[in-house]
């Protein structure tokens, strides 16, 4: 079995399996935790409106804007760049659509009425490069800042590594530089598999838990009558 066959087959199988098990384990485990009883009188008739905190926290308050601008801008740059490269590149879409079809029996267009849009390779490469540069800049900032360096641990650095690895290997595979294409695409897939395996057990899990924690906190604040 060559490297690419392993990466497309057993490697991907175990990575996806571990990812699904890990993510659901974490999410269900958190959701089913017993909530601390709130004995105070509710200030608002319904706490559900507090879910808007999910949106209001997407940008810092004016007081903190200047001090957090660097990480905010670069953070958004990375997330948008990464998302575009991930979700709007045809080879990626073919993979997602295959999973989609396997799960519900019909393809994306059959459900949503439109085909999954995608960009040309050049746009995707540019987007990936921007995300890559943003991640480098964020790492430099993390190391240069005494406070951030102090509060950073293995999880932060390893999560950074497994995130930038698919970007780097993806761009190498796209531009076909450094090794035979089979090797490049196999290494790209293996880097994605490393990301999937690490994802549920490190800080990358914030992809899901950020909405859970903000929503829960928003509802708690709303009940207490706090300004959101």
């Amino acid at each position: 079995m060559d490297l690419l066959t392993f990466a497309r087959g057993p490697g991907l199988f175990w990575a996806v399996t571990i990812f699904v098990i890990g993510v659901l384990w974490k999410l269900v485990g958190v959701v089913l935790l017993r909530a601390k009883p709130d004995l105070s009188v509710a200030r608002k008739p319904s706490a559900w409106t507090g879910l808007r905190l999910i949106l209001t926290r997407t940008w810092p308050r004016r007081e903190f804007l200047q001090s957090t601008a660097y990480t905010e801008v670069l953070g958004y740059t990375f997330h948008i760049g990464f998302f575009v490269a991930l979700a709007f590149y045809l080879p990626h879409i073919l993979f997602f659509e295959d999973v989609f079809r396997g799960l519900i029996g019909v393809n994306f267009q059959g459900v949503f009425g439109v085909s999954w849009p995608y960009f040309s390779g050049g746009v995707i490469y540019f987007s990936g490069a921007v995300a890559f540069a943003a991640l480098i800049a964020l790492l430099i900032h993390r190391i240069a800042s005494p406070v951030k360096r102090l509060i950073s641990n293995f999880d932060d650095y390893f999560s950074w590594l497994v995130t930038i690895a698919p970007l780097a290997t993806g761009m190498l595979a796209f531009s076909h530089v450094g090794a035979p294409y089979q090797t490049l695409i196999a290494v790209h897939l293996l880097s994605v598999e490393l990301l999937l395996v690490w994802f549920p057990f490190g800080k990358l899990m914030h992809t899901f838990t950020v909405f859970l924690s903000r929503g829960t906190q928003g509802m708690q604040f709303e009940r207490k009558g706090a300004t959101l």
């Binding site: 497309r8 199988f13 699904v20 384990w25 974490k26 935790l33 073919l94 396997g102 294409y181």
Partner: protein, 360 residues
Amino acid sequence: MPDSMIPQDARDVTLGEYLAARGVSRRAFLKFACSLASLMALPPSVGTAMAEAMAKARRPSVLWFPFQECTGCTESITRSHTPTIEAMIFDMISLDYHETLMAAAGHQSEAAREQAMKENAGKYLLLIDGSVATGLEGAYSCIGGQTNLSWLTEAAKGAAAIVAVGTCASYGGIPKANPNPTGARAVSDIIKDKPIVNIPGCPPIPVVLTGVLAHFLTFGTLPELDPLGRPKAFFGETIHDRCYRRPFYDQGRFAKTFDDEGARNGWCLYELGCKGPVTYNSCATVKWNGGTSFPIQSGHGCLGCSEPDFWDKGSFYRPLSVGQWGNAATLGGAAAVGVALGAAAAYAARRRQDKIAKGD
């Protein structure tokens, strides 16, 4: 003309003398050598040197053994698209044994093989097409009561070099496909002490064989090979990199089915399972049938036939980026395990909270 029909003394003259006797002009031979040099990415001046070296060379004895094969490789070589060039393969060499092409049969053909091996010991080129059956000590494939395996090991001892023609001889090919009932192996899996060049393809491109032979005649060595034993000059780039549809890939224009507008417009076949991005061969540049076309130009994706184990790498019609990792049941099972683990973890946490609350 099958070489077995050429008088023995014709093998003793130089290639130049032999071609001149057959009416091939020096100019035509020079053009042939220059085109080969060009295809092999050698400098233009080498073309002349190749012509001179080949003209002075004695035509090497070549034994072509067919093992577990379909004769497609021989069909490919004999139906070369440019007779004035590729057909010269039969002029450049003295083809002393080839079951399909030789006039002799039965004991006569075996006698010709043994004679050629004896007279040219240490100097002949051994061409193999088809994989080598190793199961049951090679009994799955025999010729004249002898196994292919014994033929190969015996003939390899006196060979100057071995050329594995086609994917079966190069990497095992279709006979080696899972579950490989005959224990099919590649030539290079069995012979370790001789220079071997692989010319994979199902079938291989004729001019690659011509190029390898010309290189051997000119320089006395095999051409530079890649890690899979293929001549770099012909297998240095992927079909995808040299495909005329590549701009459509870069632009994001893909055929979704074999008869949609994209297919009619000649857009990229990646989505229909084309393996061009991971297949090293020169189909996109040399093409077939007089440079007329190649599979992608005909509207079908590349199967990746010049790569090892191409038959066992999943469907030809599933895109390259689609995983081969399971199905919805796999995901469903993993999800069930995840939910169960999460519920168990939450239950354990609640039990711990209760114990703390009770002051245990």
